[in-house]
Symmetry: C3
Subunit: 165 residues, 3 copies
């Protein structure tokens, strides 16, 4: 009767490399080191934000769509140069990463997150809660995202999403 | 003068199995795979939700009380069939699990959690914050709950708790 | 082009000891075992709460300032004795700890946190979100804080911070 656990068995070195990638991802965003953010992806990558309802319907177009690292770097540059948006910061807390399998040379994983946004005036609120659905490759011992789909549980954002989630 | 750490020493295999169970528990709930939820418990199990104030007074009756796996399965079935409640999803983020000891063949542990609830219309709020107090058995390398007491810090819920926490 | 990961490589024993310290810290606070809280620091320690904006400007005076363990113990004693503040509890959820380096015999680390506060009447809200910036020493296999700087993203608190964050 018992349904076996779905999680894949991997070596602790792989698990550690993936955990470190997940951690560095949220730290570079939250601590305003966004120039390091694209470096956590491979050159030919995919980064998307697709709200849960649309993701479950198989839609592939969401709020953000970047299909190579240059686009991620452009996002960061324009954020730094234009800077018209109301200043705010994020704080992510992530849960443990579940490694679901391995396909086409990448580990498929999911990780839950909650993001609190703090405005310049000090006001805090839950900005997003959801799940990262990833494809992660390991090269030379370091993990990088080949694909990261951010799947927020809510489709509503009170403003443009300027900083990546 | 120094008070020694209370945490118990266990093998990394045990720790990994417990961490995986904790992770799968929140993923099956948050990702709407509730049919897998009862499978994370042994047949003769206890699942309860007892608010903190009552738990500290030693009360054993709370918001939910299920003392075998069949009751957990019934809960899931009725949730799926009736479906009268307002659609919503949870997102748990859990902290690390503290293994406190071992008694009667089970590990006793505690794990902090925060749950964000997202309504169908996109509205998010903190639904519950608290602590899991567990007894976990390991059989054939896999961990299962013998007892899970959910201890929310707050005794107030704005609606019935339909989905398990 | 790739920027190497900043995280330091440490043994798994060190990493485990640090992870355990981080976990015990939040559990002693959230589960009202505050008498154990000072014991997680070495005798000659520093504990501060400095809001992010001020921390980034290099200011060293914040909301709390304790520069030895006796001061931490005094804080706990007065909390227990006076008890004039409105009863409330915290629930921390922390992310993984990033070990950034090692200097003067201590590991330098950072860890993200979110704290939900629950009032006696059951009302919950996000009380603080931010980052711990720590110096951690390992003595006899156990980790202790030599320095913990709590860096909340927001500088606003609706009340005095009575319980440590």
């Amino acid at each position: 009767m018992t349904i076996p656990p779905k999680s894949a068995e991997v070596s602790s070195a792989v698990r550690d490399a993936i955990a470190r990638l997940q951690m560095e991802y949220v730290h570079v965003i939250d601590n305003n080191e966004l120039e390091r953010w694209p470096q956590l992806f491979v050159e030919k990558c995919l980064y998307q934000i697709i709200p849960r309802a649309e993701h479950e319907q198989g839609r592939r177009i969401g709020i953000w769509f970047c299909d190579n690292r240059g686009m991620l770097e452009d996002r960061v540059s324009s954020m730094r140069e234009v800077n018209v948006f109301q200043p705010h910061v994020y704080r992510h807390v992530i849960g443990p990463t579940e490694i679901l399998g391995h396909k086409d040379g990448a580990y498929t994983t999911q990780t839950s997150y909650i993001v609190v946004r703090t405005m310049h005036e000090g006001e805090m609120q839950i900005f997003s809660a959801g799940r990262y659905v990833d494809e992660i490759v390991i090269e030379g011992g370091a993990a990088r995202f080949r694909k990261r789909v951010v799947v927020p549980d809510s489709w509503r954002f009170d403003t443009l999403v300027v900083i990546p989630i």
